[in-house]
């Protein structure tokens, strides 16, 4: 076991939590991520592997599928982001890669992102100050890549108007955190 102590994207040793008014923003350092992209001509095989892994069809464009241990977001044509618990899946890329063999390209993405859960009554009031999502149609399992204060983010609806997951570029975790907490203050 190595002796390097990780820090979170916000630079702490523990996850950051902010509650402002009715909403709470929670940093989620314990998510392992890997991208899966079907190889050319292997789309069907890759889809089957995804079904095996998720216990459900691979999410379609703009959708997410939550499962245990693996969940998946669609991030591009024939491309998905797989997530799992970090403690048990730190080597997620290797695990996923071994499942897919040569039918998909797998890339570790865990530390490319900072993950937050934004929760509480009236999450939509915060979201509408942050990004261009049609909240009238943002249902559980919808996932979209959008821009928050010039940062490309993945926003996934877990429970409408109550809980969304925001993933943004890790190096800009501080800027993203500032943007979200500022919006939370605005609507508080």
């Amino acid at each position: 076991m190595h002796d390097l102590i990780p820090i979170t994207a916000l630079g702490g040793t523990t996850a950051h939590v902010d509650t402002i008014g009715d909403t709470t923003l929670t940093e989620l350092p314990d998510i392992a991520l890997a991208s899966v992209a079907a190889r050319a001509g292997q789309e069907t095989a890759c889809g089957a592997k995804l079904r095996d892994m998720l216990g459900a069809d691979a999410p379609a464009a703009g959708k997410a599928v939550f499962g245990d241990p693996f969940s998946a977001l669609w991030i591009g044509p024939d491309q998905w982001m797989i997530s799992a618990d970090f403690a048990t899946h730190e080597d997620i890329a290797a695990q996923v890669s071994s499942r897919f063999g040569r039918c998909a390209s797998v890339t570790e993405q865990t530390d490319a992102w900072v993950c937050f859960d934004l929760s509480g009554a009236g999450v939509n009031a915060v979201l509408e100050l942050l990004c261009n999502i049609n909240l009238l149609q943002f249902a559980a399992g919808d996932s979209t890549r959008t821009s928050i204060h010039h940062l490309g983010c993945l926003v996934t609806c877990i429970e409408p108007d109550r809980l969304v997951r925001i993933m943004g570029p890790r190096a800009s975790a501080g800027s993203l955190h500032h943007a979200v907490t500022t919006a939370m203050t605005s609507v508080a």
């Binding site: 464009a61 669609w74 591009g76 044509p77 261009n132 959008t146």
Partner: protein, 90 residues
């Protein structure tokens, strides 16, 4: 503007990067093309006042490059296709 993404539905054009005329996909054959053809490919544009096929990269979205047919006088968009699919077909 709003671009109706074939996979993701209506998306704000601000999420995209404009790459130029769709003729950029018609790269000359490196084995046979003349210098004149390379010049025309690299530098001449129809630049029509009217429908225009053009490439938009969904940088803030799914990274697809779309071929958008858009009227340059009204900005009306009449067709949106995935470049990769169209390119693979032709």
């Amino acid at each position: 503007m709003i671009i109706n993404h074939p996979l993701l539905g209506p998306r704000d054009s601000a999420e995209f990067v404009y790459l130029g005329a769709a003729t950029l996909m018609d790269r000359p054959d490196p084995d046979t093309a003349t210098a004149e053809e390379w010049h025309d490919y690299g530098y001449l544009r129809d630049n029509p006042a009217g429908p225009h096929r053009e490439l938009w990269f969904h940088e803030g979205g799914d990274r697809s490059i779309l071929i958008v047919t858009r009227n340059t006088t009204t900005h009306e968009i009449t067709a949106v296709e995935l470049a990769r699919t169209v390119g693979a077909r032709t």
